[in-house]
């Protein structure tokens, strides 16, 4: 379950092929493993190391730098409340206080039923629509406490499962390496590497 599935291995190989050097594919592949398992497992990191010709320590070293990678299970829905300046000015802390009460957890933790993880995050580039929230990286703009409750109700009732995929899934359209792929720069880089 934790190593990439055979379908994902093919996707991984296609992704690797789009970079002049395999290691450049590391962050996209970490996302792929997080999409598969909901978080980044130790086994997955070892598997990525194999696929990329790296050590597990290389993979771990990079992965832990980035906030989106989770190394323990998180909720099915990760709710990120922006508390940065524009949102703070328009009630982000009041919203976070409300969210903590509603979900019964402090920011940075997951509800007992494993459904929600609440986070206090930095600016998510929706500053004119403050306070801004993301659920599994899907935006909610100008969120009032009532809108927050509605959101939690809708998520709990499964009414948003179309719109909000499980944690780990980002884009649902992937770039395809089509027949038009030229590969020129990769070939040039291979020549440089060989020198």
């Amino acid at each position: 379950m934790s190593r990439l599935t055979s379908t994902n291995i093919s996707i991984a190989k296609e992704i690797i092929g789009r970079y002049p050097r395999p290691k450049s594919a590391l962050i996209p592949l970490l996302h792929l493993s997080q999409e598969q398992n909901g978080y980044v497992t130790t086994e997955a990191m070892s598997h990525l190391a194999e696929l990329l010709g790296l050590t597990p320590a290389d993979v771990y070293g990079t992965a832990t730098f980035y906030e989106m990678f989770k190394f323990e299970p998180v909720g099915q829905y990760c709710i990120s409340v922006c508390t940065n300046i524009s949102c703070q000015l328009l009630g982000a802390w009041e919203l976070l206080e409300h969210a903590e009460a509603r979900l019964g957890v402090k920011a940075g933790s997951t509800t007992d039923d494993g459904r929600f993880t609440l986070e206090d995050v930095e600016c998510i580039a929706a500053c004119t629509e403050a306070p801004a929230v993301q659920v599994n990286y899907r935006y909610r703009h100008c969120v009032t406490p009532a809108a927050f409750d509605q959101l939690v109700d809708d998520l709990s009732a499964g009414r948003l499962s179309e719109e909000v995929p499980p944690h780990g899934t980002l884009a649902r359209v992937r770039q395809r390496t089509t027949a038009g792929w030229s590969g020129t720069a990769t070939a040039q880089q291979a020549t440089v590497d060989a020198l």
Binding site: R18, Y19, P20, R21, K23, S24, A25, L26, I27, L30, H31, L52, T62, F65, Y66, E67, M68, F69, N84, I85, S86, L89, L90, W93, E94, L96, E97, K106, A107, E122, C123, A125, A126, C127, T128, E129, A130, Y137, R138, Y139, H141, C142, E162, L170, A171, R172, R174, Q175, R176, T178, G180, W181, S182, G183, T184, A185, T186, Q188, Q189, V192
Partner: protein, 468 residues
């Protein structure tokens, strides 16, 4: 999921009609179309004509020359002229790369996400043209990790563009070939800094490299020559190629050419993102022109505003009339940065505002340099204890002396004891706020609460972890 579901409210806030009183929208011109993100929508509104024109009528040098003529300044923060930057590539060194910086995460900034979500083909066309002009065979579109919809739209658009031979081998039958790789981050503000972005693109931790010697144009991705440009910068390229650099130059201010996107957020009646001619005044955007922000909320007075994102020193009422062009804003001691205006009204708790911005930098410091890693954390704690009512008499001196260690002289543009400008950016709000509102800090320290007439926030933040 339908595409519309993703962005409900800002439709109302983003006003397209009449958004530009003194010129025509360039890169946001398609935003009022529902299908602006599709190939059909793009092509039926003039898309990809610049690429056809360039590949049939113009040499690479001619395209580059139009960009030089336009004098377009980078929209990512530093405002460096793109045409000049492209000229820094050493001759005859290959492979060389183009990297599009879509990591938008400077607090207050909201424009690149909009451009990627709503007009992805425009960015792709701008990127292909840039590769043509600088003779690069591969570009990387680096999108911020948290922007799922932007990634989705760009992936879709790239697939469409490849299918139609607008990217790939022998673009439109010419002898020019180029690949674009869509790639994305995973949550780290510092990766917006160009050398950190390159590290990240190499699969590393996103820590900035020391300049010199690592100027990307000379030693960038895989130590090969690399052009890094912001999304908004490159979104303007199709227009410049179609209309000519001179036409672009005639728009805006002579010292800051063209249109520019500004996000105006905070305490205004109608926050929004506007594409306006460079050189417009903040006053006009906030108060005068009815199509913009409609004044400060509840008719209150303005206490301060940030002109260019959280890294920029603050401006005040007396700066409202300043034209927003680079030399004017630079001379007044701040920067246009990433086109992010944050308005704070008279009831704003400036100590809390200052703390929140500093907390951001403390959380986002990559940890490579001691003054930044230790200093920003220290600054955050001192500010937090003032807010918590446990301030000490010596705290203002402590804040200023820690700041001085990160950025000697406390000038702007800052001097730095660090590898990149993130550390000194944390100092800007502190020096701004203490200089102007020292009495509010002192009141907090003496009484444990803000002065009368200030709105407090129920801050429940956890502390910033100490870096290992």
């Amino acid at each position: 999921m339908s595409d519309q579901d993703e962005q409900p409210e800002h439709e109302q806030h983003f006003r397209v009609e009449g958004m530009v009183p003194t010129g025509d929208a360039i890169i946001t011109a398609r935003f009022d179309r529902d299908d602006s993100h599709t190939y059909d929508g793009y092509v039926s509104s003039g898309g990809y004509t610049a690429l056809r024109k360039a590949l049939t009528e113009m040499s690479a040098a001619t395209v580059h020359n139009e960009i030089k003529l336009s004098e377009i300044q980078g929209r990512g923060g530093a405002g460096f002229p793109a045409g000049i930057k492209w000229g820094f590539l050493p001759e005859g060194v290959y492979p060389r790369y183009v990297v599009v910086n879509g990591d938008e995460s400077e607090p207050g900034t909201y424009k690149d996400r909009m451009l990627m979500e709503r007009d992805p083909h425009q960015l792709i066309e701008g990127t292909v043209l840039t590769c043509y002009a600088v003779d690069a065979a591969q570009a990387f579109l680096y999108v911020r990790g948290e922007m799922a919809l932007a990634q989705e739209r760009l992936a879709q658009a790239l697939n469409e563009a490849y299918e139609r031979n607008l990217v790939g081998r022998n673009v439109l039958g010419s002898d020019f070939s180029v690949d674009i790789t869509l790639t994305w981050g995973a949550g780290a503000y510092i990766v917006g800094e160009e050398t950190a972005l390159i590290e990240s693109l190499e699969g590393e931790r996103g820590m900035p490299r020391l300049k010199p010697p690592f100027f990307p144009a000379v030693k960038g991705l895989y130590l090969q020559p690399t052009i890094v440009n912001n999304v908004e910068t490159l979104a303007n390229v199709p227009y410049i190629v179609n209309e000519g650099g001179q036409t672009f130059h005639d728009i805006g201010a002579p010292t800051s050419t063209g249109m520019r996107m500004f996000a105006v957020s905070g305490h205004v009646n109608r926050p929004g993102v506007f594409e306006v001619p460079n050189g417009v005044t903040t006053f006009r955007m906030l108060f005068e022109a009815p199509e913009y922000c409609g004044g400060v909320r509840d008719g209150r007075a303005i206490k301060a505003f940030i002109p260019g994102g959280a890294s920029a020193p603050w401006f005040y009422e007396e700066h409202l009339d300043f034209p927003l062009d680079k030399p004017t804003v630079d001379k007044a001691g701040s920067m246009l940065g990433s086109g992010a205006i944050v308005v704070m009204d008279e009831r704003t708790d400036v100590v809390a505002a200052c703390w929140r911005i500093v907390r951001f930098f403390a959380r986002e410091s990559c940890g490579k340099c001691t003054p930044c890693r230790e200093g920003t954390t220290w600054l955050e704690r001192v500010l937090k204890r003032i807010l918590d009512g446990a301030g000490r008499a010596e705290d203002l001196d402590t804040l200023l002396s820690v700041s001085e260690n990160i950025s000697p002289g406390l000038t702007f543009p800052p001097r730095q004891t660090t590898i990149c400008p993130l550390g000194p950016s944390a100092v800007a709000p502190i020096t701004s706020a203490i200089e102007r509102f020292r009495d509010e800090f002192e009141h907090y320290i003496d009484h444990g609460v803000p002065k009368d007439g200030i709105d407090r926030h129920p801050i429940t933040a956890t502390g910033v972890p100490v870096h290992a």
